[in-house]
Amino acid sequence: MNDLDPIINVPARLRIMAALTALNPSSQLDFRTLGKSLGLTDGNLGAHLQTLETAGYIKVEKSFVERKPRTHVAVTSKGRARFEAHVAALRAICRV
């Protein structure tokens, strides 16, 4: 039985998790930068982020920088662990 995570095993969410886990554990990425670098629209990105946040894989933080709203996204330790398990499962399948 493989250990693939059904929440992560969706192309857009896999890419979001890959992008966020590429950062340091204490770092958060700007929403716009994330969407731009993954080629996702704001609506599409927002929907996937909500699914990941509900699962406890990421946390979304809204703040104001120079009176302008900014949203930052970070992966949680649970999300990082699930993503690493997902990647390990993908590697195991490749070895089959």
């Binding site: 493989n2 896999l14 590429a22 340091n24 204490s26 700007d30 994330l34 120079e66 490749c94 089959v96």
Partner: protein, 204 residues
Amino acid sequence: MEQEQQIPITPEEARASLAEIDQVTLRIRQTIAAGITAPLLILWGSIWMVCFATEQYYPVWSQKVWFTLVAVGTVVSMLSGLYQSPIKTNGASPLMGRMGLAWLILFAYAALWARYLGPWEIPHHAYNALLNRKSGAYTCTICMFAYTLMGLWLDRVLMYLGIAVTILTLVGYLYAADYFYVWMAVTGGGALLLTGLFIRKFWR
């Protein structure tokens, strides 16, 4: 439970997913580097070009120009780090420990390099020109060593840039003689500027 169900996936699909992860990891690092690094390289490349050109052609003005532009560059760099960075870091970052180590290595390099690039005692008749050239080359190579260190942890392009400009600086110091500053304006400043423009165009 949804998570306990087996997901049917072929080895080819798994390989494609892993390739996608590698591609996204590279892309996000490049996007972040483009957001932070490119504007700073363009800024410091321009500052080097103006300051070295002034040093070559209007040496009377060079001190004031260097002082003013380096001060402006430092303030702009700090502000852009605070407000333009796409990354926000909470609490102690693992990068902080690396930064401390990097500063130590940089100081050790600066001390060793000062010893190697010496002696600083120069015959009186050649004193000003040679000492200025020497300290110019020294400062540039220290800055480029910092870029090389940053490149080891952030992005390899900075490492290659640091090594290339160090070599160009030493070539200019040894062979350009009276045209050293214009050499540095074109090669040193130009390399920083072009790398910044390259990152801005292709990594965003």
